[in-house]
Symmetry: C2
Subunit: 432 residues, 2 copies
Amino acid sequence: MKSVNIGIIGLGTIGRGVYSAIKSNGSLIAKKTGVVLKVKSVCDTDKKALKSIKDKTVAKQFSADAILLDKDIDIVVELIGGVNPAKKIILSALENKKHVVTANKELISKHWKPIFDVAVRNNLFVNFEASVGGAIPVIRVIQKSFIADDISTIYGILNGTTNFILTEILEKACAFKTALKSAQQKGIAEKNPELDISGKDSAHKLAILSLLAFGRYVSPGNIYTEGISMIEAQDLSNAGKWGYSIKLLAIAKKDGGLLQLRVHPTLLKATHLLSGVSGTNNAIFVKGNLVGESLLLGKGAGSKPTSTSVLGDIVEIARQIAFVSKRNTLPYNLDYAREEKNIKKIEELEVPFYTRFSVIDRPGVLASISSILAKNSISIANVSQEERKEGKTVPVVILTHKAKEGNMRKAIAKINAMDYVTKKTVVIRIEE
Amino acid sequence: MKSVNIGIIGLGTIGRGVYSAIKSNGSLIAKKTGVVLKVKSVCDTDKKALKSIKDKTVAKQFSADAILLDKDIDIVVELIGGVNPAKKIILSALENKKHVVTANKELISKHWKPIFDVAVRNNLFVNFEASVGGAIPVIRVIQKSFIADDISTIYGILNGTTNFILTEILEKACAFKTALKSAQQKGIAEKNPELDISGKDSAHKLAILSLLAFGRYVSPGNIYTEGISMIEAQDLSNAGKWGYSIKLLAIAKKDGGLLQLRVHPTLLKATHLLSGVSGTNNAIFVKGNLVGESLLLGKGAGSKPTSTSVLGDIVEIARQIAFVSKRNTLPYNLDYAREEKNIKKIEELEVPFYTRFSVIDRPGVLASISSILAKNSISIANVSQEERKEGKTVPVVILTHKAKEGNMRKAIAKINAMDYVTKKTVVIRIEE
């Protein structure tokens, strides 16, 4: 049977997971595909990580060069994450005529162009299924299965940590900080959770999906991004009462000649397919002119689920190496991608809003808020003030009809400056 | 730009849909993939269908031979359905060195072996994504994305017609026949709905999924199959009260050295991902040792959604034709498939059951039923007799603990023979 040599660079959770998955499922993979995957070398700068690989036939390397310069290695699997030194390593692998598999969303979302330039020039594959949605095969599905579609909308729950936290706040009726701590204790959130809870991780993934689905590239730094740290249990229960869930959504939408790209907490109808996605699951909703509405759901992280995607990528390349002499490595969709300038400005967005005002309970407050909203062309759909505490702070929740975000921002700034407001107003967009 | 010639055989809903999709999305596809898809000829025995294709540059053929013998045609798209004459046409296309794309579940589920024998011998692709799950990319996902997984379980809602009927019975609290009629009026059920409502269509699809996921082939005729015609509104509402939905599930499961393959109405926990799949949607739940639990959901039928899958298949081949000189057409997983003899006998199955007895309301009936169940080693989990109509027929619903199906059948046969039973007992398996 043909055999393909692999070098794994980076032995964190995912790297060790891929190694273990090849160990546990390797003979099944060989039976299914006719190719034996052989891990020839692994590399990490951490001695302990290297020591965790017991197999003596696997070379343990401190330096990536030992893999990058090894003529016997066919596929380099980069699982370090982050831009540096991953970018240098991948470019060097490609210059050394090695195919690449990576799970690196930040790198692909920011530097796909120079990477694919070298890959196409050298007729090499760069596969990155695990970079978005963990075990969810969204990259292959958008690139291949839905290739004929004019995709108009993508909604993604692309970050398991934040989805877990939102589920936890709802179920335990606890504070954001408590839910975050619980996620950290369970190993679901990192010690420094900033990348996840700020929405930036989702923005990286959204940039990749936009590139593949629309052929339109926007650097993640130019994607409007909001995190979830201002969400309180009362927002989730208020939303529930009105028939909505709250999810951190990554949204990509064609809007006339413009493109909407945004990551923010969103009220979604409780009946929407994505509203039932709880805990660490990820899910991606895709709408196209042929396929209609489609949903992919699965584990968004974790070493085993992510291994599925990394190994699917490895096998695809391994079969090409084993069975095809002349290859077509041209990436689907990427060759027509262009830098997108026509992004819809967030101020121009028109959606309904959920707003929670923290105000002193006294006569005239609601009249003042309503009047400021009205002056900014924002009309009210629902108001709810359930608590009464004369002279104390109470929440007033208002759902608006569709309004321009720019107007909403002006109105909220004005209201926040009023003496009856005791805390910054929470504003959450509603997706219809 | 490179161009690939296509011949479409069969201009029913799907055939016309694929033609229209190429017309509407062809230039987008070319932009995305670098290949122009050119429909050179279409074929149908129905003059009216041929006339519906207005484009004068497309040759209209009465006979498939005009396409099969045309040296300029690269890909034959078979969309006739059924075994004859589709089998002959596909084999002839392959003998004439043409790649094949088909949506034909019956043909692939019954005759994949001779078809792939010729295809592999002639180094040709036979793609069949649209044969299972309409627009859901389950074939590619199981063959490629989850290739590294040891898949243990597949649950599929694979037939939109029956799922629509079950949804309709639940929502309208109507009879099966009324729901079927409504489905027929909406064009969701065919005039002769036998293939759908008997579960046979789902069995065809399950045979294909088992082949791909496990490499184990069972002819659809050997798959235990039950339809939905005995389901009444009260069964759906009873199930609901106990926290279950009822779905026509296609189930494939590894069970020790045996394989469970079965299609039947099933009580599923209301919290299960598949319980929320309503109307004509299809969905497939896959569990593997790496990927964990994964769900694919989308439109199971209709000309546009099905076109997505057919075109994904066409594009994959077209890019190979356009850009690769030596191809690897070896099908993933199929080359290791073997005929499966070790199917779990349905009598050996051990699951909990939902049973609805139609019995005369008189003292001693419940005691008699309980005693017969007990004698057959079946223990009761829940009993409900809500109506009281002394001397008249009332429903008695019993949920059992796990019991052997063989025992259950014996018990039910005995109970059905009792004088207090006025109608055949409804028995539905529960999936835990």
